[in-house]
Amino acid sequence: GGSEKSAGTDKKTDFKIGYLASTGHILYFIAQEKGYFAEEGLNSELVLFNNSGEGITAVANGKLDVGAFGSSAPMVYMSKGSPITIFAGQMSMGHALVAKPEKAAELADLKNLKGKTVATIRLATGDIVFREAAIKQGLKIGEDVTFKEMESASAAMEAVKNGAADASVVWTPFRKMAEQQGLKIVKYSPEVPGFENHPCCRQIASTANIQKHPEKYEAFLRAMIKAYRFYKTNKDESIEILSKYVNIDKDTLYEETYGKYVESNPDPNRNAVIDFYKYMKEVGYIEKDFDIAEHINIQLYQKALDKLLEAEPQDSIYKQLKADFEKNDL
């Protein structure tokens, strides 16, 4: 890791980062392993969670400085009054609907979900994508199409395999693993109209912490942007790093990191988040309406990116990020 000049210089600030064991969190792993956090003066610690709710609780209570636990779960927590703010992105897209090969062709037309049972994970991003897709087809959830909530992605896939469900919502890396087990992808989530560049994991932090120590978060984001550049330019080493944290075979990892319809990107992607919030409401996951915009902070990212561009104005990746930011967030 980043052992360069740790002893001599001024003391680093402790910074706890909560993550899920998912390919989408690759930027954390790169920043950690390549020493970008240390470069920015953060004494970072990665903390693994298996459950979004617990991670968000830890963030809201300041036990974690930052974390990325899906996009829908934080929004639901916000609607319940949890004092957290989205300030960066982590992963986009990456979900899919899978089914047995003999059913896949039929279901490719989402109209044919009528009368079917879909295994899903409550509050997974793909859950919202495909519920919304069904609604857009004029299907009533619970009547025309049944969504069965499962305990885990692997349980959901089992349900499809033994016929208890017709299709299942999965995400990276399970999309690929489903294919390996003989299932077929019916639709990738960005193929659903309205979700072309939909957010998945967003980075959240306690609102109070952001207000108190914006500099910490800017430093964190600089490290993330550097990690993004590395991710874009050193694919093999990135996969090598990723495999330390997500313990599955490397081909699958590569496929699910650089393959179709998936990207890791620190851009908050404010506009897509606000769209997503609308769909959450339509699906019925948000009971109490609130102003999502108040819970999104794009300034930290903007400042971090500007600072990096200042130092390396010609960097093509930074420039691209800037262009994206202007398109996605303003």
Partner: protein, 248 residues
């Protein structure tokens, strides 16, 4: 009863003071008693529907556990050699968290409900089985001799002599199994359920709605109390021949 009520009131007052009066506790995780009560009343229909489906699940799984664990425990406990072989294995098996069986249950069983039943069943099975097993092995030998003098058949010996004789210990195992069933309810209802009291708690905890989580926990507490009261009654009836239960 007075003391129990007093303790409950005490907890309520402390809760009220900490949340409403002093506001020392995070309002998100610790809603006030009044909020919880309102949520409870508002959600009564959902909760009662949930109760219905949970009870179906619980009673199927628990009945299955009773019907298999007790005869098996008797049979294995009665055969010393079988006991010596099975006992260490059952110790290990009973320490496997039943939730790891979930994918297997889904893969093998035709419906989600059966998978849920299996998870609860496994949880309830072990304590009942182990207590029946141990009690059978340790049974008072004179009782057996007394029955042997009658030239009794093995089947009758197991079910008419040993089973009633070890009933106190079996019931202790059954009550642990019952507690286990409730503990596993939340996990079991993560499999394709859309209602249930365990599902309710898990669902709202995923949604960060801790008011409802507390409602769910309190309601489970109520249900456990009620079920335990019924269990006590049955126990009292089955053990009416014991001095301590003879008063009623």
């Amino acid at each position: 009863m007075v003391d129990v009520t007093a303790i409950f009131l005490g907890i309520l007052v402390v809760w009220e003071v900490l949340t409403v009066q002093l506001e020392v506790l995070d309002a998100f995780l610790f809603p006030s008693p009044q909020q919880v009560l309102e949520l409870f009343i508002g959600d009564l229909p959902t909760i009662f529907r949930g109760l219905g489906s949970s009870l179906v699940l619980l009673s199927a799984a628990y009945a299955l556990a009773l019907a298999t664990a007790i005869p098996l425990g008797l049979f294995v406990g009665w055969r010393r050699r079988l006991f010596n072989a099975v006992h260490p294995i059952s110790k290990i098996m009973s320490a496997v968290p039943p939730i790891v069986y979930i994918p297997y249950a889904i893969a093998i069983l035709p419906t989600f409900q059966l998978a849920s039943v299996l998870v609860i069943f496994v949880g309830a099975f072990w304590p009942i089985f182990v207590s029946t097993l141990n009690a059978t092995v340790q049974i008072d030998k004179t009782l057996i001799d007394s029955a042997r003098m009658l030239r009794i058949k093995e089947r009758r010996l197991l079910f008419e002599i040993i089973l009633p004789a070890i009933m106190p210990q079996v019931l202790t195992g059954c009550s642990v199994g019952l507690i286990f069933s409730f503990i596993l309810l939340a996990s079991a209802e993560m499999i394709g359920a859309t209602s249930g009291i365990g599902w309710y708690v898990k669902y709202y905890s995923d949604f960060g709605d801790y008011g409802k989580v507390i409602v769910g926990i309190l309601f489970i507490g109520l249900v456990v109390t009620a079920v335990m009261a019924v269990f006590d009654r049955i126990q009292r009836h089955l053990l009416r021949w014991q001095a301590k239960y003879s008063a009623d």
